[in-house]
């Protein structure tokens, strides 16, 4: 089947279509919507939740979830602020922070895999713990980063046009997309998410894989957090409060499901793109805030509904083909 046909049938296609339509609509209403300036803003706005969604999508495909990802990102932002303000050389502070994120992942993995907690509820507890701790450390304040050299990470523009945080997100998406689609490791992740029993029978060590995914998620959350800290020039305890939920919404919008499916990273990208475009449109629309909130909920439902329609038609097609 040609690539175009495959693309058309992909789950994510309706999302892309809606996104493009929305962007055209906004451009018509406001000539500068697709201007370079505004596109830069879009890319910035996508980068935090989008980066977090990478780790979360991997977890979701593997049948787990991590609601503490936002708190882990904020924690990492605070950690790197503390490191840099105490004189640690920033290119060294970055890997230290990422290691810290991986440590958070290890802790979560212990709870979920060694102690068999359900990841959903365990990470809610962990999120509370982290949120409390970072507020104690920062006294609820945004700790400033006064060392200007670190600002580069958040504000550099590649080719003088594309923000570095966005590039980091896309690069990570490409790498993980390839891992998911083309390696055994990636295929195993789909297996443990789709059918845990079958995976075990195939000899896949589900717990080891799940642990790797949590550690990976921690590292990615750390990257998201430290990049945000650079953009905002501060380590903030509130930075990640909506991060995890936005990331999950974006993944689901894009079509990443607990059940598996191809093109996960592309799904994430378009999911976060649609979410950001939608929210931007809401902000500049002048709609009263409460209508905006309802609209956000409806968007999620719409995405789920489209997903459902797709699934049904795909199953019908399979049935038809089998019957023929």
């Amino acid at each position: 089947m040609s690539i175009i046909k495959k693309g058309l049938k992909a789950k994510v296609t309706p999302i892309i279509v809606v996104t493009i339509l929305a962007m055209i609509l906004f451009q018509v209403r406001n000539n500068s919507y697709l201007s370079l300036n505004n596109l830069k803003n879009l890319m910035h706005a996508m980068s935090f939740a989008g980066t977090i969604s990478i780790g979360i999508a991997m977890l979701m495909i593997g049948g787990e979830i991590d609601l503490a990802a936002g708190a882990e990102a904020a924690f990492s932002g605070v950690i790197i602020t503390l490191l840099i303000e105490r004189g640690v050389w920033w290119p060294l502070a970055i890997p230290i922070t990422i290691l810290f994120g991986m440590l958070c992942g290890v802790i979560t993995a212990i709870f979920v895999n060694k102690l068999n907690f359900m990841s959903f509820i365990a990470t809610i507890g962990i999120m509370s713990v982290y949120n409390g701790i970072i507020r104690v450390i920062t006294q609820s304040k945004n700790l400033p980063i006064s060392y200007q050299g670190y600002y580069k990470v958040g504000s550099t523009l590649i080719f003088n046009a594309i923000p570095l945080p966005f590039v980091i997100m896309v690069v990570l998406m490409v790498i993980y997309g390839i891992i998911l689609a083309r390696t055994n490791f990636g295929r195993n992740i789909y297996m443990i998410g789709g059918n845990r029993q079958a995976a075990r029978l195939c000899g896949i060590n589900q717990k080891k894989l799940s642990t790797i995914l949590f550690i990976n998620n921690g590292a990615i959350a750390a990257v998201a957090g430290l990049v945000l800290a650079s953009r905002m020039h501060s380590g903030s305890p509130t930075a990640g409060d909506t991060g995890a939920l936005d990331a999950i919404t974006a993944s689901v919008l894009g079509g990443v499901s607990f059940m598996g499916g191809a093109g996960a990273m592309a799904n994430c990208f378009f999911g976060i793109l649609l979410l950001t475009v939608f929210n931007t449109g809401l902000t500049t629309s002048g709609l009263p805030p409460y209508w905006q909130i309802v609209a956000q909920g409806m968007l999620l439902l719409l995405a789920l509904f489209v997903d459902f329609i797709n699934e049904r038609s795909r199953i019908k097609n399979l049935e038809r083909r089998n019957a023929a």
Partner: protein
Amino acid sequence: MKKIIALLLVLCLSLALFACGSKDKNTPTPPAPDTPTASTDTGTPPELPTDSTAGYASDDVDWFARDKYHFVYAFTAPSPLVDTMMNAWKVLGNVYNFDVAESTGNGDAEAYVQNLEVMANQGNVDGFFMDCDPTIQNRVIELLDEFNLPFVCMFNPMYDSSGAAIAPTLALDQYQSGYDSLQWLIDNQKTYWPGDVDPATIGLLNLDWSTSPPLHDRCVGATDAFKKAFPGNTNIFDADGVTAGNINAEVGYNLTSQIVAAHTEIKYWFADACVEDFAQGAARYFETLTTQDNILLTDVGSVMLAIEWDSGYDGAWKACYAISDYAYAGPAALGLIALADGRATPATLWPERRAAGDKATIWIAESSIVTKDTYKEYLTGIDKKYGAQ
């Protein structure tokens, strides 16, 4: 496996104990057998005042002639502002012989009311500093009446059904603070902008949080200042953070970037943020623009901007409405002590500052707009004036 569980349990218990031990040990005295107001019974009942000097540092009172007062600060959710108040009271407590414990709902109204009752029922509370969500005021006022304990409100006055303030309050006039912050920018625009700016290219950006009336009023004030200075100018843009769901810098950044990029016809921006976090995000965005010199940003609240100025910031965020912790903490403490001593009642406290129609005084804390050049001197000066050591 069991070892890990045991370790966790021990860890959590020791965490709890450590958390208690690290605070100033506040050994609660066993509850007095009679009424909760027993704590004001210090032997010889003080005489009621005949003049209006109660509630000031100049009161002719020996602060240490009585037992230490135990006050409770009941606030809706933790924030840097709460921490600065607590720190100020820690210092003032040594001077005026009191200490302050915290009670909060962590954002939840039910827990707030719950904990308020728990604290009051302890029997060793002498008074409250109240910062209460305006939407649940009615119920809280009832409870406070039941407790029969004195209280002073912080930041948000409490009104009865006729709109009169019913308790002494250390307030920030939210509307006026927004109005004044923007007015200052308008008055001083010539310092930053060239002489003849086409008014049609001037715009106002409000970074709002509409579901909180006090915060929202700040933007309303700023909008009115703008409308008065530029009658007929319709370039007023409201960005509401509520749909983003969070008060943090990134939301401020995103909201600002979206509005500013969508309106390239506006060449000169006035921007005001109802909270410091939004302003911080906005400042970050403005730094990425080549036209940053044509943007003037202000906000209500000085904690974050002072930190930025300390770090050498010099961008579009030119000024802010200073909130000095001592200017609030000082008079509030003195007022509450006077009430607890019995030297004043809500009706008789600070009568010379009372607005017509109110049953109790709303003391609008002294404040000013500060800039990079004036903030240090102003803040330290104000703090010292109200009791900082």
